[in-house]
């Protein structure tokens, strides 16, 4: 309880490092969710609505990647971006872009897999109708996405939840550098190891509050669309 009170005081006080950590976290989660959605949703719709050879195997691979351990994603991106790796010349390691890349590797399969399973349910009847009334094929993806928009908000929130709460990948490729790549999860780990429980609890509260706010917003959006 004492920690909790101290944590609240710290949040209300003028702790610039805490604000910095929150800012980096939001920035990273926003970009990784957005990019993953831009890649994962159209591809997910395609996979979910079309029938092609090897679809079963592709879906199986995507489902496996949905459970990709964050540290493995982190390790792969670390090796790719490291100075001796193929993309070493860009000097991206230990920066926010590197963390976003690792999270995109992690989150895209989740968004793709969920989108595919949502669209596959209604794709057949929907496509029949759309072809019946003469909607051009190139607009089909957009139509399917539009029809699934309410469920896709939930998919987005799943992706965002993964991004903001993930610790393994961002620790490896971000390096938890103070004022630069330190996010809430890695900061909580660090402060717990240091025995600095006030700051750890404060960060935990902020993390939950942010999730609460964003989920409330998403829920409102879903309800409005439903009406």
């Amino acid at each position: 309880m004492e920690y909790f009170v101290d944590a609240i005081k710290m949040l209300l006080g003028n702790n610039s490092e805490l604000r910095d950590i929150v800012a980096v976290t939001l920035q990273m989660s926003f970009f990784s969710t957005t990019i993953s959605m831009l890649i994962g949703m159209p591809l997910g719709v395609l996979i979910g609505s079309r029938h092609f050879v090897g679809k079963r195997y592709l879906v199986r691979v995507i489902h496996t990647l949905m459970g990709l351990p964050p540290v493995v994603a982190g390790l792969i991106v670390f090796l790719l971006l490291s100075r001796s790796g193929p993309f070493g010349e860009f000097q991206l390691l230990f920066s926010v872009p590197a963390m976003v890349i690792a999270q995109v590797v992690l989150i895209t399969p989740i968004i793709m897999g969920l989108t595919a399973s949502i669209t596959s349910v209604r794709a057949n009847s929907l496509l029949e109708t759309s072809r019946g009334i003469g909607i051009p094929r190139r607009k089909e993806i957009g139509l399917l996405l539009y029809e699934a928009r309410i469920q896709l908000i939930a998919v987005m929130m799943t992706g965002f939840g993964r991004a903001i709460s993930e610790v393994g990948a961002v620790q490896i490729v971000g390096g938890n550098v103070q004022f630069k790549t330190r996010v809430m999860t890695t900061a909580i780990m660090l402060e717990t190891n240091k025995g600095n429980f006030e700051l750890a609890v404060a960060l935990g509260i902020v993390l939950l509050l942010i999730s609460l706010i964003i989920n409330s917003f998403a829920q409102r959006l879903q309800e409005e669309r439903n009406d």
Binding site: S82, R83, Q91, L93, F94, G175, N176, V177, Q178, F179, K180, L190
Partner: protein, 290 residues
């Protein structure tokens, strides 16, 4: 039968003589004060820091000391502040530290007998071999840090934790009159030396490190030693026996024997040799205590 009686007498006399000699012998060693043959408490508890322990020096010296003295050395590694606490709470007989002001406080507070500095090492400034900030010929680490700070496109990676290396780094920044925190070129890992060196290697950044950690990781880092033997990179190691008036149970005789051996010729030679085989250069420089 008669022969047996004479034999018995002879044996008795011999035993008596042997006893007297033994008594005298132990008497003289006690007077001598080296305590080699009459060790009351054979265990010397040495508290030191993780940095010293990680260097492997103590495990290397331990068997030589034990053979020479008859004591058993028990080494415990702590964080710098916890090592001092171990001394204050009588959980150690002898401390091996490298933080002068903390050592002086410890002795002044009556927990330690006196500081016995016995060896030095140097922190290193490592960085990309091309040395873009041009620090190689700097007269001091503070000057080198100032050059790194003012050069463009050069990063510096710092541990930013409670370690001695980080304390030493902050002292140098203070001397250079620079506040690096929050600077775009300054990276703080809040982690151990190996992690910090790896990040410096990846970013081709400058870094202050202890020599052992650097040499142990050097092969994979792509970083070169750019500045070493400057006065503000020097690190002096000190032995302090825990004061028996503060902790009567402390093994003061053992601590004295350890300090005496560590400042002697055998230990000096062993310290000078340490690291030469593996890295081609010494890690520590024994002081001339004679």
């Amino acid at each position: 039968m008669r022969i047996n009686k004479y034999w018995l007498l002879l044996v008795a006399v011999l035993m008596a003589v042997a006893l007297i000699f033994a008594a005298c012998a132990s008497q003289t060693t006690e007077d001598d004060g080296s305590g080699n043959d009459t060790i009351d408490n054979p265990v010397v508890r040495l508290a030191t820091t993780e940095t010293v322990n990680d260097s492997g020096l103590l495990t290397y010296l331990k068997p030589y000391f034990e053979e020479a003295s008859g004591y058993t050395l028990e080494i415990s590694a702590y964080s710098p502040s916890a090592a001092i606490t171990a001394g204050e709470e009588g959980e150690a007989d002898c401390l091996l530290l490298h933080d002068k002001s903390a050592e002086e406080d410890f002795v002044t507070a009556g927990y330690g007998v006196k500081r016995v500095p016995f060896m030095d090492s140097y922190y290193l400034i490592v960085g990309p071999a091309s040395d873009p900030a041009g620090i190689t010929d700097s007269p001091s680490a503070a000057k080198a840090f100032a050059k790194i700070a003012s050069a463009s496109g050069t990063d510096f990676v710092s541990r930013g934790d409670g370690s001695e290396v980080y304390k030493a780094e902050m002292n140098i920044w203070t001397k250079a009159n620079i506040n690096p925190a929050d600077q775009p070129w300054y990276f703080t890992t809040s982690s151990d030396m190996a992690t910090t060196l790896n990040m410096a290697g990846e970013r081709q950044a400058y870094c202050l490190t202890d020599k052992t950690s650097y040499l142990a990781n050097a092969a994979n880092l792509g970083l070169a030693i750019l500045l070493e033997k400057s006065d503000d990179l020097k690190n002096t190691y000190t032995l302090i026996a825990v004061d028996p008036s503060a902790w009567p149970d402390a093994n003061n005789a053992g601590a004295k024997a350890f300090i005496k051996w560590m400042t002697g010729d055998q230990a000096s030679q062993l310290i000078a040799d340490y690291g030469v085989k593996d890295y081609g250069q010494p890690l520590f420089y024994a002081m001339d205590n004679q």
